[in-house]
Amino acid sequence: MAYPLTLLMLVALPFVAALAIALLHNAARAVHSGIAAGASALGLVLLALLAGPVLGGAVPSASWSWVPALGLDLTLMVDPLGLMFAGLILGIGLLVVIFGHFYLYTGEATGRFFASLMLFQGAMLGIVIAGNVLLLLVFWELTSLSSFLLIGFWQHKAEARQGARMALAVTGGGGLALIGGMVLLGVVAGSFDLATILERGDIVRASPLYPAALGLILLGCFTKSAQFPFHFWLPHAMAAPTPVSAYLHSATMVKAGVFLLARLWPVLAGTELYTGIVSSVGLVTMVFGAGVALFRHDLKSILAYSTISQLGLLVMLLGFSLEAAALAAVFHILNHAAFKAALFMSAGIVEHETGTRDIRRLGGLAKAMPITALVATLAAASMAGLPPLGGFISKEMMLYETPEVVLFGLPWLVPVLATVGATFSVGYSLRLAWHLFFGRPREVEPFKRAHDPGFGMWAAPALLTVLAVLLGLIPMTLAAPMVGAVTGAVIGAPAPEFDLALWHGVNLALILSAIAVAGGVLLLWRHAGLLALWERAPLPDAKRIFTRTMGFADKWVRKALVATHTPSLQNMLLASFAVIAALVIEGAMTGGGVLTGSRPGLPASIPAIVAWTLLIAATAAVVNDSRNRFRVLIYISVIGLVVSLAFAQLSAPDLALTQISVEVVTILLLLLALNLLPKSPPLLSSAPRKWRDGALAISGGVLVGGLAWAMLTRDPGPSIAAYHLANAKSGGGGTNVVNVILVDFRAFDTLGEIIVLGIAGLGIFALLETTAVGEAGRRLRGWRSDMSHSPERHPIMLVMASRIILPLTLTVGIYLFLRGHNQPGGGFIAALVVAVAFLVQYLAAGFDWSDKRRRFGEHRLIAWGVLVAMATGLGSLAFGANFLTSTFEYFSLPLIGKFELASAMAFDTGVFLTVFGAVMLALAQLSHIAQRAARAATSQEDTAL
């Protein structure tokens, strides 16, 4: 199989699976988990196909140009580092899917769960196999978003929502910093291609921008990997379902920061600045997290803080800027993924089977659930770093490296603190296992419920624990080739000689390790006393600080907004109009201030002057009489009519048709809305205000009119019209150049426009759909008709006439549509005409009658319209032409003769459907509301009588 295809499938699979699950959200749980597991397994197979070449030294990669102007390419690349992480993401992902299948309770939204999980998996995979740093950023943001969905999966729980929000705020904020850092990095390195950047480490480190880029990138990594002081989101993210915690916090989300540090190691590491920041942050996080973990009571909280601590360890190792330390980090990533996922799942099992996660209520569970106890205890032992488990080896390697690093000029600082951290780790790991499974049960009720779960649920953690054990027993066979290759990829050079073994003879590391174990046992023994001490100590609550900081920011943003933005439409419009008027004056002055140009004018005909007088009079009437609202609508339609006549007279038949049909629809809409709005409200404005506005209005009118005059009396500059005219028939296949521009030359504009129109229609629907409830609903029910109505609601003459008109108007609509490419007409106009035909039915026969006979859903029409237009555009891609290039062909049919069929016709159909759908949606919905109000009013009058 070719690499490009494999790579593309690898990264696309989870997204496809997520989409499939989301589409089948009503299906059974087994379908959801089946798709998720299948996609993960298939991903693993694809990865296995790549593993051979990758470990053999090849780097399969593929690249497609995406946004070349930005340097953003869709480059995918699997090197050993990416391979290892992809393996963890897919492998643990598969186990988590299996575990999650059994963990979730009946009735939970498994579709949403597994879809989000797959989305997350895809995003993580994207991060680790992205070969372009901008692409990596895209996936990075996707992990923040999808983890938000996962952490907040139980939307009904306040702590889930808060946890999700906090995680998003912290990791999303870090993501912003990372964007800045990555862009700087790319600018300094001269490329956004990852492989190129990795080769230019010297240039980057020598650049004056290096500290800024480093700081921003580290912010991104530290927030994602929950390093002190950004750690606090992680414990709150424990409100997620346990399978999510197992996935996000063992091998994926929080490892993304570690991954990025490892990925950019050859570029960023090695400077004093880097070593100082990264290793000290890691060290502090390691000791801090481990210390807090000792005194937590919630199982998942203990695991959360232990994760923080272990992540600190990894960050510290990468921060050492030593090749051997990088090797230790790589091996520990494997170990941590295995034992931490197993522990999270075990915690989930305990909660599932006992009903609590509070370690103070549990105890002695080894008797009730021996399998879980065995699995979890072994995993905890690996976490503690006890021989003969994998965790022991990586901890030894870590301790072995510590004396090599001098921080703040103190050679003893790192080894001592690392040993303290290791001691705490032993302490919390032992406490977790001991207090949970051994001794006597502290409470009866959870113990009585406790039992081992079915095989399906313990299989996944058991498998992981077996791995954790084997990583200790046979590390050279199991992991050495991988660890060596990955380390090579991290440091960008062949890996140093290494020997993964339990026994290296008596050395400093072994002694420190022994001290840690002894200290850990001591901590466990004296835990009760220490806990009392801890609980008395005044400790800051990170969540409260976070909430207060957010509240503070919120308050000041609000203040700034109010200070800079007047929430008054009147004032804003006044300022805008005044500024525009000033700009026009300024422009006229710069242009020399000559009003009239030399272009000869066209003498106006008498009818034109009459129409012009009508327009002026109607406009004056609108302004003068604007409070008598129904009469105003008549004046407005006079203006509209004159405007369309002007278009007709001045060689724009398409515009005339459009204007007149839009006019009808707009007036109908205003009539319907006015039915519910106050008809003639009291005056609000004072006389001075009117004078002020009047002065501004008149100067605006004079300015714009003058501008138009200046333009019309000058010859136009060079126009691109010649191209359109010359190519309309030969290239676009139509003689109506305006229509050809709309559906061919500038079809992209039209596509955007119909989408906007569709959105407006849907927005109107949303605004009106919810009027039935709340204050609006109350007011609507209390609506009283304030006008005298005709005694006959639906005059029979009108009804009959409208029914005869319907087929005629439809025919006209179809005719306008079909001829649109060559003669005035087209999708827009036809849609408006057909919409008017239907609206007349509403008007004449009432909403109920028409609605019952309606066979189409407006939402669907809008959607189909946009889809048809898009599909037409995409269709041209298949033939190698640009998006929305149209094509046409001549056919001949018996009787009809030769006729032309253009793909633009299909595009115009999309335009037709969307415009028709949006217009109908808006007006039908409005008349529906009005009808409802009228009916309520009538029935109340009846009861009153």
Partner: protein, 129 residues
């Protein structure tokens, strides 16, 4: 009287009326103002192709593709989409106004239920009876 003068003066009058109405306090008046301004904008955009009589941009085999034989089709295409978009905008604003009236019981653009210039006294005698 030339067509140019009629067009320019109509645009000016429409803008003046539109601006005045857009600055009023009632949502419905603002919608009317927007409608008038839209007419003016459409005419202005259209006028940028200059005024031409009896030469619609319908391609004709006899005349061929010579520019002098037709009016400029591009402003027309732009105005056509503008007209339709204006409908969408007007419809949305009208419904927004309606919803805001239903929610607050006031059709004041700034959601005020008290008259904005009440201190000046509602001197106008023609307030609603």
């Amino acid at each position: 009287m030339t067509y140019e003068f009629l067009m320019a003066s109509a645009i000016g009058v429409l803008v003046a009326g539109g601006v005045y109405l857009a600055l009023r306090a009632r949502t419905f008046q603002v919608v009317l103002g927007l409608t008038l301004i839209s007419y003016a904008v459409h005419l202005f955009l259209f006028a940028s192709g200059r005024l031409v009589l009896d030469r619609p941009p319908i391609w004709d085999a006899v005349q061929g593709g010579a520019l002098a034989e037709y009016t400029d089709p591009l402003p027309q295409a732009l105005v056509l989409t503008a007209i339709v978009i204006t409908f969408g905008m007007t419809a949305f604003v009208v419904i927004l106004a309606l919803r805001s009236f239903l929610e607050t019981g006031s059709d004041h653009v700034d959601g005020d239920t008290v008259p904005c210039d009440s201190q000046d006294g509602m001197a106008d005698g023609d307030a609603q009876p």
